[in-house]
């Protein structure tokens, strides 16, 4: 069996002259939580739709759970998906909506009630979908995606509309599923959330893959920053000069000196500042967050 839940090879989708996705190549390892990141219009949903057999690629190929996307019937019974937000029949209750999908997928109806409980809709499962808040709709969408007890769960912006506790619950749910061996392929704009849970990342920009690999590798490859705050603002310029004279890039950001350097140079900086008569009120070593890394990467590619 393939060691990748998803393998994408030179996959492209064109609408007229516009390439929604251009020669994408990436793999999603089995049993991982993989974040799928990119600005609006970068091709995330197009990719997901191709992987789910909803749209046909213009060229290239892909496999999902070892089966070609040209035969979605071979793998979709093992895939749960929520694409571009939840979509259900407004006049049916949440529970009845799940029963429709359970009938269609050939899943036992007795899976429905526990799933309604699992996503926290126990009290509202019998209410009509049209009366649900955005957060409740999102929860129902996640329940629908879990109906097949999936080996691969594809979630497109699953935390849209959820409150902080709902976001936390979804994060824990994804962790639980990954611990049980389910591969989770999740697109989100909340990069902080993905940083916490995604072991693997695929980044897109304007239809092109700009990074694919482990989240840890991506973040550790980014240059750390020493943030130094002198007691007196007038010392900022001298502090910057000290850093530069020792071969470090440095700049002033929000009345603080940002010095690109490994954290172990912090002690040396502190000593040098002291010798120059500068008292540091604060000195912190910061690694760029996923969000900052994402912007750095997308800006670099865009230049």
């Amino acid at each position: 069996m393939s060691q990748s839940a998803i393998t994408v090879t030179n996959l492209s989708k064109k609408y007229g002259d516009r390439a929604a996705l251009a020669n994408a190549n990436f793999e999603v390892p089995l049993g991982t939580i993989c974040g799928f990141v990119g600005p609006n219009g970068s091709g995330k949903t197009t990719t997901i739709r191709m992987l789910l057999g909803l749209i046909s690629p213009t060229s290239g190929s892909a496999t999902v759970l070892g089966e070609s996307i040209t035969h979605p019937d071979k793998y979709l019974p093992r895939v749960g998906a929520m694409i571009e937000g939840p979509a259900f029949y407004p006049a049916l209750s949440g529970e009845e909506n799940l029963r429709v999908l359970a009938s269609l997928g050939g899943f036992p109806q007795d899976r429905v009630a526990p799933l309604i409980d699992r996503v926290g809709l126990t009290d509202r499962g019998g209410s009509k979908y049209k009366t649900y808040s955005l957060g409740m709709k999102q929860r129902l969408g996640i329940a629908a995606a879990l109906l097949p007890n999936p080996d691969l769960l594809v979630l497109d912006e699953p935390t849209n509309g959820l409150d902080p506790s709902g976001i936390h619950e979804v994060r824990e749910l994804m962790r639980d599923l990954a611990n049980q061996g389910t591969t989770v392929f999740v697109s989100s704009h909340l990069l902080g959330e993905l940083e916490m849970i995604a072991e693997y990342l695929v980044m897109l920009r304007e239809g092109r893959v700009i990074y694919t690999g482990s989240t840890a590798n991506l973040l550790s490859a980014q240059q750390p920053v020493l943030v130094a705050t002198p007691e007196y603002g007038v010392d900022l310029a001298r502090l910057i000069e000290i850093a530069r004279s020792h071969g470090h890039e440095a700049s002033v950001v929000d009345d603080q000196a940002h010095i690109i350097s490994e954290s172990d140079w912090g002690a040396e900086l502190n000593r040098l500042a002291f010798e120059a008569g500068i008292t540091l009120a604060a000195l912190t070593a910061v690694r760029p967050s996923l969000e900052e890394t994402f912007f750095t990467l997308t800006e670099k590619i865009g230049e």
């Binding site: 739709r49 789910l52 057999g53 909803l54 749209i55 046909s56 979605p72 019937d73 979709l76 895939v79 998906a81 694409i83 571009e84 979509a87 259900f88 029949y89 407004p90 006049a91 049916l92 009845e96 029963r99 429709v100 999908l101 009938s103 269609l104 997928g105 050939g106 629908a144 109906l147």
Partner: protein
Amino acid sequence: MLRSFFAESRKLRRPTLALSTLLTVAAFSVLFTSIVYLRIKSGEPNTKMGERITATELSQYIGLVYGFKLVSFFLGITALCIFASQTAQEYTFGTLRNLLVRQPIRIKILAGKFLAMSLFATIMVAFTAVMTIATSYALAGKGGVTTSAWMSGDAIQLLGETFGNILLSTIGFGTLGMILGLLFRSPITAISIGVLWSLILETILAAAISSTLKWLPAQNIANIAEGGSRTIGYSHSLLVSLAYLGVGLAVVSLLFKRRDVAN
């Protein structure tokens, strides 16, 4: 396909749709049949197209199904609306993507949907038969109509034939609705075009150019319910309807199978 049938049936049996449809056809059944029987003695027109049917005629075995036949076109239009909305709403609600993820063989979704909606249409037609016949019996005495011939072998045979013809016609109109729903992907557009075409445009066209009457789809589908007429034969209507609907279904099935689902 059976899974798709059961899934669609769950949607169709929701009270707001099933009960409101049955209540509407019941109301129209009682209304149309009542007008015939309650106006018999007035000497004025009491049936469709400003015509008149007498108590003597209704006392024959055809009286059993007369009311039922009167409602047939209304049943067809109702089926057209239901089939069109049930199909097109998958696009407007965005639910089609859920269906296709759970059943990627698209033709099975269409076939299951069609079967479930046809069953719904069958229940609707059977309910209408019961309502119109019950109303006819209830009002026969008031209109001076004797019902002894209504239980004859001929009457029962006619009831079977009429039921079959009206069912075929109703499902035919439904199929037309489904074709329009798949084509326009919007319930409002599909229903508007279907109803306007069937009720108004074809009538105008047939009145303006009488030779077109034999070839208009809705006229032929409606003629099946009548069991044929003096101007258009039953077999002709059956063949013309089958040709229109067959080609239409083939085209939209191909579109449905190949079209990207991007909403």
